[in-house]
Symmetry: C2
């Protein structure tokens, strides 16, 4: 069964209304009709199994048969910080792949070794929405506005249960995912540096805010690979 995306404000009282592109796809491309069954996700972590009750030229109305909370979502909540890279293609694939893996939020961060570079946040949000449907998730990952490392840590470090920071300089530390603790139900923030890494000051600042340094192995991963692999190593369901 395909997944369709309907924002929560169009879901109420056991019914939901599908408009625009999704309506067009259902009625014109898939040629579905009253009585047909489909799965709708609200982008907030809930899926609905529903039946089409009426189709008009501009909307498809459905009645909800079953509600599936946290449908296909991992048991932990992962926010993935990533350095603002020069190459936007690399950011776009990180968002696509991270969404498939189950990341709940992406936080673009300026660091000492990143160059100032305006992201196309709207485009990243579209990529996340397409990937959410493709991989059958129910949560649309949040794509945050750009921030910087110090602001992120000062304002939000305390809102996470666990913070990991990838540290390519040290291999004597915990390999993420090996002997992993049970993170079920936890809010986790993952920090990875840009090309050239975090500065010593940035690493120290992160550790002061509670971040645990982890290694991702001996090889030097590109920034976007490191971010993705950190997520892959801790999202296990």
């Amino acid at each position: 069964m395909e997944s369709f995306y309907v924002p929560p404000d169009l879901i109420a009282n056991g019914h939901l209304t599908i408009r625009d592109e999704e309506h067009h796809h259902i009625t014109r491309v898939l040629r579905m009709n009253a009585g047909d069954t489909l799965r709708v996700v609200d982008g907030k972590g809930t899926a609905y199994v529903c039946r089409i009750t009426s189709v008009s030229s501009h909307e498809t109305v459905c009645t909800i048969d079953a509600t599936q909370p946290l449908y296909n979502e991992p048991s932990l909540h992962v926010s993935l910080m990533f350095p603002i890279l020069k190459n936007h293609n690399r950011i776009e694939w990180l968002v696509e792949k991270g969404t498939e893996l189950g990341v709940a939020g992406f936080i673009p961060v300026a660091t000492f070794r990143t160059v100032s570079n305006r992201l196309r946040i709207g485009r990243l949000r579209k990529i996340a929405a397409a990937a959410m449907k493709q991989c059958k998730r129910s949560l649309l990952p949040e794509i945050r506005e750009e921030t910087d490392l110090e602001t992120l840590l000062q304002n939000e470090a305390r809102t996470f249960d666990v913070i990991y920071i990838g540290d390519e300089e040290r291999t004597d530390i915990l390999r993420l995912g090996v002997g992993r603790q049970n993170l079920s139900g936890k809010r986790v923030l993952l920090l990875t540096g840009p090309e050239g890494g975090f500065t010593e000051e940035e690493t120290a600042l992160s550790i002061n805010h509670g971040a645990v340094p982890v290694t991702l192995g001996r090889r030097r991963l590109r920034a976007e690979t490191a971010a993705l692999i950190m997520a892959a190593n801790i999202i296990t369901d």
Copy 2:
């Protein structure tokens, strides 16, 4: 220290000779001279720390100070089968990211649900070479010619110690990487299907040849994401 790549036939008797692009990069871009130290990898799993002894217009000659076998290589040998995808960009990034992660060989495979599609093997080999240097590996992953699943299994299944097959239909099976066995020193083959998955016959054939089905979680990963994440979950050093 940067890594440079020199094929094994230019390494002998405690000396090595650097030509072409690498020679140009060392002498013109980095402006290195006699006496400077650099690290050279042979693409076969060995790194050499060496000193430049002479620089001419067409080559840089070095004397080898130290030999580092299996430099930055994982302790297991992973061959990654991937389905021949329509979108070559996705194959290219799989090769780049898989090389960074430590994959030893890539095997493009036609399956029932792939379309026949000539790969640009030469281009993939260049991408692997660039990624090998970037991530400081010493082994240049082999990019194999296209084959089909049955031929691969019949000719080579017995040459591997362990074969895993990703199976998106079943979630009751082992999550790869959770409670992982010790694969150190083993030769491992990873199989993942195309969009739409392997057919039941292909999965059965693989299992008959000793493949162990594993799940990659509840979400439906794109073919290239699944392949990469399988590798990420078992290469731990």
